[in-house]
Amino acid sequence: MNILTTWRRWSLAAAVCLTAFGAQAQIKIAYIDPLSGGGATIGEHGLKHIQYLVEQVNAKGGAINGQKLEVVAYDNKGSPQESLVQVQKAIDAGVRFITQGNGSGAAIAISEFVSKFNERNPGKEVLYFNYAAVDPALTNEKCSYWHFRWDANSDIKMAALTNFMKDKPEIKKVYIIGQDYSFGHAVRGAANAMLKQKRPDVQVVGDELHPLLKITDFAPYIAKIKASGADSVITGNWGNDMSLLLKAAADAGLQVNWYTYYAGGAGGPTAIKQTGLDHRVYQISEWHTNVPSPEMEAFADSFLKKYGGSSGQGWWYLRMKNEIDMFVEALNKAKSADPKKVATALQDMKFKNILGAEVFMRPADHSLFQDMYISSFGSGTKHDEEKTGWGWKTVGLIKAQDTVIPTTCKMVVPS
């Protein structure tokens, strides 16, 4: 091989590299969530969200004087181990901002990994934006300066749900079912403790954990709920574990009230419609499509048009919009895409979101506080979900300042 051909190869390789990495986006965000397996449906749904958000930001000229954002998707298969492999891959590809949401097991692993990485690689820091993993540990004993969360943690959600249940005398027997991992344990613990305190007369007739995202037939579990005589079910299930649980309930004709975190996730609304439980499935979330706000409704409509597809799965994560909007604001404020400077700008940010509501990041644990809505799913709403004709209706609103709970986090601010 002579020198010329070698040189040609190198220049060719360099040209390929330039077109691949150089000319395009300057600020990359790695989206690391399940894109296969039981969590794939909601992982794909979330990916569409972030792609749409980034398109919007870029169409408006990007951030910091015209730098464009770019999303790179990595499939973590819903597993903590695989998440770390993907985070490493993203870092190797030059990504400095990571976002993930589905699964607190994966979230804790990523948060710890990022903390260690940043400690060992000063000047090459990586930030982790968590839009949905709500295990309280992430902003308490396992908190990290490099982790920011845009969703209310599980304890806040359960406090709101149980406050709502407190005033419903018809609730007598409650069944708690959840996924067997850190988040599921957190939900069942909080549910038991808070019910005991707020409604000591309520009987917990079942307290069940099942394998995470592995079950394809919930019929045996539904038979058990039925046999327990429960009138209400509390669950933190998400992804297929939520939609298939509801589907099995529909098949068996189970008539109970559902108090959920994520019944509105992809596939959930279709399954609720099958159960025929009109306004008997409740959800606690930071937003739903029928929260009055012309600007957000228009935004959700345009997303539905572009990404809804045949299943008609519309916008769900306002928290992800808050995340990207605040990220862009932080980039502009810091006038730099250096993660360390972005973190400084983010850690105490107060922000007016698209609903016109104030949200704020608490520096003590990097969790965002925002208004939370309890809503029920059923007929007679302005906007519907997944072409079911049914939609979410607000039945309770908790203002952001009322969701603030103390943290045990001892935030270590890097020098």
Partner: protein, 316 residues
């Protein structure tokens, strides 16, 4: 309570019969060719996906017939041009061949249909509740699944015990050389059995697909349980596979309903165990929580205490 028992039995029988549709082919193939087909569950998955694809054009019912036929042909081709060639190099090579095949099929399915579950719908004609017992409804499609698998079981039984083809197959199971010497084309018999085994697996896929989520991980999650069924039932024994399928189906379903833990059992004896005792969660985990691993416990115990399996006549 009675309600729970009845519906758990129904769900358990259904799951067991589905397992049997798969295990019957697997155990026949094993006893004939000595190959433990690792790709067997992949043919089940192919059946579900083919059924889904066909249902999008011409509805569910044609898929019920066409998908198993197609997969059966693919299975026969795999035997003729894959396994038979590899056979020369011994059983280990065959085993590895099917092992690799399982991964290839999974990857292909992901490339063609994507990683997200496909929307395989229950046919409209069966989208109602078959009956209501106490206050629980039972979907008609599940009833159909149960009846279909029972029908296939009876058909298979009659084919093997009452027909000439069955006679040759049973003879080829134990004395392949003698059958060959009598002028029968033994390799052809092998190919047919492999094809029919795959077709049965595909049929299970078509009837389970709409109810149990058609997704690329469906083969990998069912595969290991099949080996448990085949080993517990006794390798090569069809009645054994039948009993083991139902046993495992029922055990898994009923285990979900049980909330007893080791700590609960020992409590009356004066032994108090908590999460903080040595062993931690081991004592507190309920039967329901460990339900998914009970079949594997059974597998280990059977291998130790009765290596022949329930009905087998040779050691595993």
């Amino acid at each position: 309570m009675l309600e729970l028992i009845i519906f758990s039995t129904l769900n358990g029988l259904l799951y067991g019969m589905l397992l049997f549709l798969l295990a019957s082919g697997l155990t026949l193939i094993f006893s004939m060719m000595g190959v433990l087909n690792f790709a067997h569950a992949s043919f089940y998955m192919l059946g579900a996906y083919f059924g889904y694809q066909i249902s999008r054009y011409v509805g569910y019912w044609p898929g019920l017939v066409l998908a198993p036929l197609l997969v059966g042909v693919i299975g026969a081709l795999v035997e003729r041009f894959g396994l038979r060639t590899v056979h020369k190099h011994g059983h280990v090579a065959e085993l590895l061949f099917t092992f690799g095949l399982a991964f290839i099929i999974e990857e292909l399915v992901q490339m063609i249909w994507g990683k997200v579950p496909v929307d395989y719908r229950i046919p409209e004609a069966l989208n109602f509740s078959a009956f209501t017992l106490f206050t629980t409804t039972y979907p008609a499609f599940r009833m159909f699944m149960l009846l279909m698998s029972v029908a296939v079981f009876i058909g298979l039984l009659l084919l093997l015990t009452r027909t000439r083809v069955g006679l040759i197959i049973r003879a080829a199971l134990t004395h392949p050389n003698m059958v060959g010497a009598l002028g029968h084309n033994v390799p052809l018999v092998f190919m047919m059995v492999f094809g029919v085994g795959c077709a049965l697996a595909a049929l299970a896929g078509v009837i389970a697909g709409p109810a149990l989520v058609t997704q690329p991980s469906m083969a990998a999650s069912l595969g290991p349980i099949l080996f448990v069924v085949v080993v517990v039932g006794g390798l090569g024994s069809l009645p054994g596979a039948f009993i083991a399928s139902l046993l495992i189906g029922l055990v898994q379903t009923f285990a979900v309903a049980l909330n007893v833990s080791v700590a609960d059992v020992l409590a009356p004896l004066g032994v108090t165990l908590t999460r903080d005792s040595f062993g931690g969660d081991l004592w507190m985990a309920t039967v329901a929580q460990v339900a998914p691993i009970i079949p594997y416990l059974l597998l280990v115990l059977v291998l130790i205490f009765r290596p022949k399996g329930l009905m087998g006549d040779r050691d595993t």
